[in-house]
Symmetry: none
Subunit: 229 residues, 2 copies
DNA sequence: TTTCAGCTTTCAAAGCAAGTTACATAGGGG
DNA sequence: CCCCTATGTAACTTGCTTTGAAAGCTGAAA
């Protein structure tokens, strides 16, 4: 059964972009232009995933969010919020309200699809918790988003993998070789020193506003996710 | 001690390829052509790593896998499964059965060696106790942190290694040469006196607040981790 | 008590691991 | 086809660690 994606969005041009990309990815596409119409149609369609615009002509997207979460049959439906640039500040409350992920406009269609896939995958086997946490670092392995001190940190793929690896065994020291084996995989020949560079990039990315020293260097041994003594 | 690699494989040509590459990498090579013979010889040899062909003339490799995992003395031995092309589909079950890695034929010898190295590295660090304790000294080899009288002690890498070495056999006396061989490695030429210096630094680092005499000097012999008589 | 070998402490230079920066390249997306 | 990001390497810097020499100390034997 193909998954049904429901979008509530008033911008015409964006709707057609969404429709094109979502249908290309093999999903069914449904749509409403206002919050009011959306709430009606969502109950009929019972979609597998909902895309909500943050700003709608009649009511804010968050209202639909609350509506969905409070309806027995819909409450488990994953929701992705779409925000215009500059509205990110409210996102913290958005996540609290109950949406599962968000994207800031303009976003790449590829990224949207990736997040839809991830959320659908999760809701299919919604058994396991996908949040890793250590100190003030939070990591959502479904959405691949990382937060440090409640601000999102933008990591490259490699930095993300290294952090994920470290987060799975916080405090434990790993040699460069162990990190290479696990993140790069065996039979890949990369210099040990490459790790240093990525660790630097990771530290830099995690230093959002305040200093956030969570990666400890153990000289001649390796690195660990830990607080400096 | 060189690690022993045991291969169960019926293809003649592949066996000689394996033998050549594994021996070139400095490992001992053992071999059986059938599952039955393999199970017998593996018990005698007690190898450090096992290569299993998925398809064998008498029984599938998975049977050997089960056999190994259910035998007390062998159950921790890492296993790499070798599969012919097209058998990958069954690999999921293979990994569930308990092999640690797999390779699809044809594979590059380089890759095989890389995976062997990686697994041996992993199994070497596996079964060592991560908390060492003596008197009021506590040492966590996972996090590389050392506590003396419940306060963290900051040690340099060398001091750390020396302490770890001593903590493994508390009370026992080691000559300077033994410490050198173990911590620095054999065939490294460093003056004996160097040990004295590091011992001093170690003592200093362990004297956090109160006097904490746990390293005993045995004049004209060496040092031991012990309480002064 | 003196002597001497062996042990401890101190010190400064050399060594080395990690941090940092810059750059070439590759790969993907528009 | 061009631009941009991600990645890995190399070169340089920094600061701690290691090291051996040498001076100071200790304890046992004479």
């Amino acid at each position: 059964m193909t998954a049904k994606i429901f979008s509530v969005e008033d911008e015409e041009s964006l709707v057609s972009l969404l429709e094109y990309n979502i249908k290309s990815s093999g999903y069914d596409f449904y749509h409403a232009s206002t919050a009011y119409q959306g709430m009606i149609d969502i109950q009929k369609v019972k979609p597998d995933l909902i895309l909500l615009d943050w700003m709608l002509p009649d009511q804010p997207g968050t209202e639909i969010c609350k509506f969905i979460r409070s309806h027995e049959s819909l409450s488990e439906t994953p929701i992705i919020m779409l925000t215009a640039k500059g509205e990110e500040g409210d996102l913290v409350s958005g996540l609290n309200i109950g949406c599962d992920d968000y994207l800031s406009k303009p976003f790449s269609p590829k990224e949207l699809i990736a997040r839809i896939n991830a959320l659908l995958r999760r809701s299919k086997n919604k058994n396991k918790e996908s949040i890793l946490e250590f100190e003030n670092i939070k990591m959502n392995t479904d959405t691949h988003r990382v937060y440090c001190c409640n601000k999102e940190a933008k990591l490259g793929p490699r930095e993300y993998s290294i952090l994920e690896f470290l987060m799975k065994k916080p405090g434990r020291v790993f040699t460069r070789q162990q990190i290479l084996d696990s993140v790069w995989g065996t039979n890949v020949y990369v210099s040990d020193r490459t790790i240093d560079v990525h660790i630097r990039r990771l530290r830099q990315a995690l230093s959002t506003t305040e200093e956030c020293k969570v990666i400890r260097t153990i000289r001649s041994s390796g690195y660990s996710l830990d607080i400096e003594a």
